[in-house]
Each structure stands twice: as structure tokens, then as C-alpha cells.
Amino acid sequence: MNGTDRQPLLELRGLYKSFGAVQVLHDVDFAIRAGEVTALVGDNGAGKSTLVKCISGIYGHDAGEIRFEGRPVTIHNPRDAAALGIEIVYQDLALCDNLDIVQNMFLGRERKRNVVLDDPTMEHMAAETLAGLAVRTVKSVRQQVSSLSGGQRQTVAIAKAVLWNSKVVILDEPTAALGVAQTAQVLELVRRLADKGLAVVLISHNMNDVFAVADRIAVLYLGRMVAQVKANDVTHAQVVELITAGRSGRAGEPGATENGNGSDRNGAEA
């Protein structure tokens, strides 16, 4: 893959965010490219969730710049993010158990004819989206979500994010609650999203998952982006070291990180 040359689809530059006296994000640079899975890793409290919430518009940021397709953009709320094509799949899924798959996928953005819900169109689009992701585990799109397994729910949540011709999909711990087989299914789906040309951000604690699908790995440590490297260039142990100590023998060095943003800051850290 020749990702290094590609222009980032979404880019954060020098992002700062604090809650009162607590500085949660400190001068964070982060670049996401289309067609790649970028893993965002870090210990609890490193600022992963805050970073995602800044991107999704749930939080504003204090300083810094967000660029989308090369232009600076402002994201005030989740609707702004959705309008740009940024979708987030949250850890707790945010699905309604008492609604069916179609209703969940279109929730808040229903297709209507006059005031009446256009169920046939929505059902058709939902089925097409699932088929396009080669999802074979869901029997009927009119199934209630309460009857689905954890992996199927995750699949629906991801399909919901893809439905809107989104360009960036951010997945928050999608495999945290899943068994082995379902984890494999979901990871496969994550890979497929990137292969379809989407920019995928995978937040995970699980190094096996990360190395299974990620093209790049970005490491947050105490609110600073300490490394953004190609997955091929680092080992398990080095990433773990970066997560826990904020630096690693080789991977933390300026020369080892990719060209462009992030490298100088890593040098300052190390």
C-alpha cells in the first residue's frame, strides 16, 4: 500500500482541549487517510474518547485546526460531522432494542413521502447496504435489534454508519464485548470498509485486533500524540511500550515515524 504519499482525508493540527484545569488533549496532530485503517490506541484516560468527541462535534476544541479534504472546517455538532461524512460507531452502540434493523439504521434521518415513512425505500436501502458489506449473518432487515447477537448488533451499527455515503468511520472499541468468532467477523468488516475506500479509525485496547487490520497506528499518551507509525514498522512490544511509557526504543524516534506531522513532536517527547 502506498498510503504515505496520499493526502490525508481528515487532519487535526495542534489540537488542544481542556476541561477546566485539566488539559486532556495537548497539541495533538492526527491524520487519517482514505482506504486505510488507522488504529488509535492509548491507555485509559489518554484522551482517545475526547479526541473522537472533538472530531464528532460533541465537544469543541480550545485551539488547533481540523482540516477535511485539505480545507479547514469547523464542526460544531454531530450534524456538522455527519454532513462532512464523518460517522462514529460508539462503544455502547446506540441502537434501540425495540426497533428493527431498518428503523435503527435510519433513526433520525428517516426517508419520508410527505409525512408518511417511506418504509419500502428504507428497507431496500438497508438491505443493499448490508449486502454491499457482504453481511451474511442477518436473516431479515425487519428483525428487532433485541433478537440480534453482539456481533450482529455491531454489524448493524457499522452498516448504519456506512449507509450515508460516509467518508470517515470511527469505531470505538467495536470488539470489546465480542467473542472470538464475532470479533473476527467485525474485524473483517472493518477491513472491508477501508478496502471500499473509506477512512477508518479503529479505537482498540486489543493489540491483536490492531495488528490484524490496521495500516497505521496512532498512539496517545497522556493527551499527547506520541507516535503515528505504519503497522508494519513496529512490533507488538513497541506499541505497548508507547502506550504505557509514551516512548519506545526505536518507534519513538523521529526518524522512525512517517514523514510529515507528528514526528517533531515525538522527538520533543522522547
Partner: protein
Amino acid sequence: MTALQTRAEPPAATATTAPLSSYARDYLRRISGGELGALPALLGIVTLCVVFTIADPIFFSAANFANVLTQGAAVTVIAMGLIFVLLLGEIDLSAGFTSGVCAAVLATALANWGVPWYVAVLAALATGTLIGTVLGTLVAKIGIPSFVVTLAAFLAFQGVVLLLIEGGTIISITDPVIWAIANRNLPPWLGWLLYVVSVVLYAAVQLGRRRGRSRRGLARDPMSLILLRIGVLAVGAGAAVYVLNLDRGRAITIQGVPIVVPLIVLLLVLLTFVLRRTAYGLHLYAVGGNREAALRAGISVDRIRISAFMVCSTMAAVGGIIAGSRAASVDANTGGSNVLLYAVGAAVIGGTSLFGGKGRILDAVLGGAVVAIIDNGMGLLGLTSGVRFILTGSVLLLAAGVDALSRRRAAHVGLR
């Protein structure tokens, strides 16, 4: 990890018609999974009818049938409104006295201000909507639990009714139009005409939807199931209209479908349409099912919650108008005593969950029928008030117990 792939059916994009037998199997599976739907209410209606008929054959007469319908009308309509609030997992304990306040407004407007009936009705409905707005705002914006807000309103509205009717007096309702709502009947020909129109419309909607779905290659219900539905409606409603069109008077001729019946059918269709076919209805279910998910989907949760209380109180106003019409008067007890309990009971017996996220308007009609039959039958048997209160309380508890158990069963089977 690419090797792992569970084998299952492809998503039902191109599926067509499943046979009727698979629907029957599905239905049985849902029931054994705790999704009882209309079953308890229907069983209740049949059982109660058999028991009361054996105890007193008068129960199974045309006159009493019409009686049950008009007796249950007000509670059923209040229950319809309550379902909107129950869908969110909230409760409105003041719905009964809201209906009392609105009935008092109606009666006062007619008797003291001398306005035409439609102005009085509008005033009553507007009062209901206003009450709902206030209750909903207190719950959604201030964050007081609905249980507390409406318990306070329950007490306060009793006082409002007393003030409106100036102490212990009774205000008579003499307006012929208002009086007719719960006391007059449609001419038999009009009953049959409405029956034919309803059945034809229902059939047209069912068949039209099926054709629309099959044109787009979506899964559709089997024709036999649709014909079965239309047939059940045609036979059931036809029998009811036939019986109601029999002469049930003793000295004078009394026949025809009571006017409240088409009114309830109209509300049933209208509110079912709102809940099932509009985005607003879907959002009510979404907020009741998972408020956080609804919020993230960009649904204005506060507005949905306020609106549910508005619908509930407005429907309570309609119930109050029906109750006032039936009694031809409004007094301090209108909408009081067991009206609220009956209405909540009707919704729950019909299958609406007290935990939110589950319920249909039809539940109010089925449950309302059960409640009306119990009330009517116990009256015919001449049971004392003490026994009647205990029995009604037990039925309510039974229904709530079925709700809670079916929820646990569903969790066990993995349906919820």
C-alpha cells in the same frame, strides 16, 4: 481471520412470500418468548364474557353490549393518550382528573358562558393541551420525575375541578350535540355504510401495501394472511354492527351503533397511523427504547417527551367530554375515583409495557374492553363496592405481573 465466515441466509433483500405456516410458527415462537401481544386481552375478554353470561344471561344481550361500549369509551380514550406517555417509560397519574378539569371547562362554557358546543369542545381540548404542555415541560426541562409531577397534579386538579364547579354542585350538560356523543346511536343504514367503507378501506390499504412491496422486490405477507385479516375484521365488525342494529329498547325502539363507537375507531386509526407510519411515532418508540441512542440520532428528546404529555392530556380531555356526555353532567367526581386506574389498567392489560418502548393504540381498545366488561359484569352481579375494588385491583396487578414476567421471559430467551 479472513477464513472465518458464518454461513447463513443472505439478508432478505430479494425474499418474496413466506408461507402462512411460517407466520404461524413465528407467532408461536414470539408467544413462547414472552411477546404475548393481544393474547392475554383476547383471552380475558372471552373468559369474562363466558363467566358473566353463565352468572347472569342478561350480560349477553344486545342492550348490555351497547352499554359496555359506551361505559368503556371514556376510559379507552384516556388509555389511548396514556400509551404515548407509557411508551416513553413515563406515567401520567393526573390523566383522570385532567379529564375531569376539561369536562368541567366544557360544562362551564356551555352552561355559564352560553357558547356553542364546538367552542366549548375546543376550550376543553385546549385546556387539555395546555395541561400536557405544563406537565411535559416540568418533566423534560426541569427534570422532575413524571411520577411526582403528575401525582402533584392529581391532587391539584381535584381542587381545580372543585373550584370550577363551585363547591359541591353539579353542572348539567343540556346541549343536544354533546349529549348525543355517548347517548345517541347512528341510524342503522349509516352504521352499515360506515362498516362497508371501513372494511373496503382496510382491504385497500392492506392490498396496496402488499403490491407496493412486491413491486420493489421486498418480502411481503402471504395473500392468505392478508385475506385472513380482512376476513376477521369483516366478520367481527359485521357481527357487532348487526347486533347493535337490533332493537334493544323495552318500550321504545332503540337501535343502531352508539356514536362513540365510530369516534373510537377514528381515534384508533388516526393515532395508530401517527405511531406506526410517521417519523414522530418512530421517535417516540426510539426515546422509550433507548433515550441515549435517540439523542445521538439527532432526535429532540425533550420535545418528544413534552409532546407525549400533550397528546396524553388532550386525549384525557376527549375522554372527559365523553364522560360528561354520558353522565349529562359534570360533578366533583368526574374523572376521579378509579378512572385513572382503569385507564392505566386498560393499557397494560392490552399489552403496553410500563417499562416503555412497547405498546400500540389497539392495546387501549382491547384492554378498555376488558376493564369495561369487568366493571359492567360486576355491576350486573350486584357485588358490593368493597368486592369490586378488590377484584379490579387484582386484575390490574395481574396485568402488570404478566407485563413484568413476559419482559423477564423475553430477556431470558434473548428477545430483549
